[in-house]
């Protein structure tokens, strides 16, 4: 009887334990339409937690403006207003942060006559609220006031350096803090078209240099004239999008799939200053069919996101060119795209515009995403110790996140924990800082143990010397014996 009672008791206990475990085990992760990954030092794709998840999406009907017809660009202003450039309908729709339509600009009064847009492709809003539209098919850039009233229009640039056959189709427009206007033109290989604050053409900037290839040169020299004409002509890369950051640096993208500088950061004199400390340049997916970036969005502290049209992914890089996370994919679910054309960030969210679906999707940072963002922000502002604590949290979620190891390693290095720093920097594959830590550790080690080792060496020398002396004296004695 007692045995049976015990049996029941133990069974109950096991049941309780099982229930407890079931309750403790993490609930199934929220289903995501795409997988998170990054690339490790060796260029292998490594699974990583998903940094951003889709939270909501909106189409023209839901915004109460009628369907958006092939919208080509969005812009989110500092106060959180979403400017949607509804190209097919030639209008601008402005949504507030609750995604209610607050304004609709269908046309404007251009010096007495009604005017409108014709397939515009780019929109930019300055801090003061001035709206710039690249009115592509009308071959001009239009500036509007916040209320939609006309200010001015900028036509095709006129200068001696521009050939007669030049066709001006402005695709994207950005305005820097000083009021200079930069235009990305269709089929323009010379770089960005720059206008000064009064709208006068001042020149091209950030020209992509033609890459020199000795192999191509060899083939060119051996090829016949007919063959040479059949070869692809050498032309510089064409910019396809641009964004400007707080400090006036201009980030550009190019469609070209063969270049290693798909993203450029141009300083005011047009020189590419993008930091490439990372081992892999920011080119998106490391696959034979490379990513082609069609939009770029600068977030803050040097972080930028590039939108890839090949696979519909958004790659986020930090200022050193390290890939932080990848989100998005082509598909039919919420959070995937058919033809993504523009990416914007506001606060802790990412917004992507889909041209074919006429839809904006909002992505909110997951715990992992916001940890990485925050840690990276502290890290790039030099607060290594505070960042290290967050990197530890990141590692708890993703033990393969190399940047976290480097971040912790650098913090340990500053704290003088050289040996631990070496371990972490090795895990993060940062040879430069590993070597620094090694140098410091070596010096520390030698300072501590130099006396001990030196004593050992001297003792050993004395011992060897003594033994040899002893052996020689015995040998000498024997020789003497023999003689006598």
């Amino acid at each position: 009887m007692e045995a049976l009672g015990l049996k029941i008791k133990s069974l109950l206990l096991i049941l309780a334990a099982v229930l407890l475990f079931a309750g403790l085990s993490p609930s199934a992760a929220q289903a995501s339409p795409y997988e998170g990954y990054t690339y490790n030092y060796w260029g292998q794709a490594v699974k990583s937690p998903i940094a951003f998840l889709p939270s909501r999406a909106i189409t023209g009907q839901e915004a109460g403006t009628g369907a958006w017809n092939a919208p080509t660009d969005i812009f989110i202003s500092d106060e959180g207003l979403v400017y949607v450039l509804d190209s097919g309908n030639g209008r601008i729709v402005v949504l507030n942060s609750q995604w209610e339509t607050v304004q609709e600009i269908k046309g404007f009064n251009n010096n007495g006559k009604e005017d409108g847009f014709k397939n515009p492709e780019g929109i930019f809003v300055t801090k003061k609220g001035q709206i710039y539209v690249a009115d592509t098919e009308n071959r001009r850039v239009v500036e509007l006031n916040r209320d939609g009233s006309f200010v001015r229009e900028l036509g095709a640039p006129k200068a001696d350096v521009i050939s007669e056959s030049f066709e001006y189709f402005p695709r994207k427009v950005i305005v820097d803090k000083a009021g200079r206007i930069y235009v990305v033109g269709r089929g323009v290989y010379e770089g960005l078209i720059e206008f000064d604050i009064d709208g006068r053409f001042t020149g091209f900037m950030g020209t992509n240099r033609v890459q020199f290839d000795p192999i191509d040169l060899f083939w060119k020299t051996v090829a016949t004239k007919e063959q040479r004409e059949k070869l692809i002509r050498f032309i510089p890369l064409e910019f396809n999008n641009a964004d400007v950051d707080e400090d006036g640096f201009i980030y550009t993208t190019t469609m070209d799939k063969s270049t290693l500088s798909a993203v450029k950061k141009l300083n005011p004199s047009g020189i590419d200053v993008l930091s490439m400390n990372a081992d892999i340049p920011p080119i998106g997916d490391l696959s034979i069919n490379r990513s082609s970036f069609i939009d770029i969005d600068v977030v803050d502290s040097g972080v930028y996101r590039a939108l890839d049209s090949t696979r519909g992914r958004i790659f986020t890089y930090n200022e050193d060119g390290n890939l932080l996370y990848v989100i998005g994919q082509l598909g039919n679910q919420l959070g995937t795209f058919k033809n993504p054309v523009a990416v914007e960030s506001y606060g802790d969210a990412i917004y992507v515009l889909d041209r074919d679906l006429g839809r904006i999707t909002e992505f909110k940072a997951t715990q992992f995403g916001s940890l990485v963002n925050h840690a990276n922000q502290l890290y790039s502002s030099g607060k290594h110790d505070e960042a290290a604590r967050l990197w530890q949290e990141v590692l708890r979620l993703d033990a393969n996140y190399e940047m976290a190891y480097v971040g912790i390693g650098k913090s340990l290095l500053r704290q003088g924990e050289y040996k631990d720093a070496m371990t972490y920097l090795k895990l993060g594959n940062d040879r430069e800082y590993y070597s620094k830590a090694l140098g410091k550790y070596r010096r520390e080690y030698m300072r501590e143990y130099f006396g001990m080792y030196m004593t050992g060496v001297i003792a050993l020398l004395v011992l060897i010397f003594g033994i040899r002396r002893f052996a020689r004296s015995r040998k000498g004695g024997r020789v003497q014996d023999a003689v006598s």
Binding site: W42, K426, R431, E432, Y434, S435, K436, L438, G439, R442
Partner: protein
């Protein structure tokens, strides 16, 4: 004790190659088993180097490391060199026998062990800025090896300097030819096998 003497002698060859290789050939001081041991030791050294060279100079992807691969990189080239050199020198009035070539090549590899083992230890305590020392030693080991190989070939075959250099370069060419023929041979064998298999399949399906 004999073994220690052999090792000591191989060191003598590395330090005084003219003298050493001469005795190797004419005084019968070279041992085939020492040469084979040397080959084995070099292979082990290279495996150790790949695995244990300091992180600062070690760019190997750990998951790609495979000790069997060293057969491809060391043992196979060694055998190819010996065979190619022998095939060539028998046609070019070389005096060396195959065993002598193997022995000379084996003894010439000693610097690779002598320099690389301390170099592995050193690489673990150097920083990035000092890594050029590592590469310098690495290059020195290689040059020393080539120098010994050169003297060895010259002594074994009793060649002049220019003839030795031409022979060594031609040996590399012959290695290429051997590899080409080998690939051709295997490819043909594959075709024959697949042909035979197809015939068998055809017959068995009909019968």
């Amino acid at each position: 004790m004999q073994f220690l003497k052999d090792i000591k002698y191989s060191l003598h060859v590395a330090m005084h190659p003219f003298d050493g290789f001469w005795d190797l050939k004419y005084e019968n001081k070279g041992k085939l088993r020492v040469a084979v041991l040397m080959l084995f030791a070099v292979t082990v050294t290279m495996i150790l180097k790949r695995q244990f060279a300091g992180y600062v100079v070690n760019f190997n992807f750990p998951l790609d490391l495979n000790s069997i691969d060293e057969l491809k990189y060391i043992v196979l080239p060694f055998l190819l060199w010996c065979i190619a050199n022998w095939s060539l020198t028998t046609l070019m009035d070389g005096e060396g026998k195959f065993t002598e070539i193997v022995i000379a090549t084996g003894y010439a590899m000693l610097p690779l062990i002598l320099v690389n083992i301390p170099n592995i230890l050193l690489s673990n305590v150097i920083t990035l800025r000092e890594s050029s020392f590592y590469y310098l030693l690495d290059t020195l080991a290689l040059l020393w090896f080539i120098w010994l190989l050169f003297i060895g070939t010259m002594t074994v075959h009793q060649y002049t300097v220019t003839k030795t250099i031409t022979t060594m370069l031609l040996t590399l060419l012959v290695i290429g030819v051997i590899i080409f023929l080998g690939l051709l041979f295997f490819s043909l064998i594959q075709q024959i096998v697949s042909f035979a298999y197809t015939v068998y399949q055809e017959l068995s399906l009909r019968g």
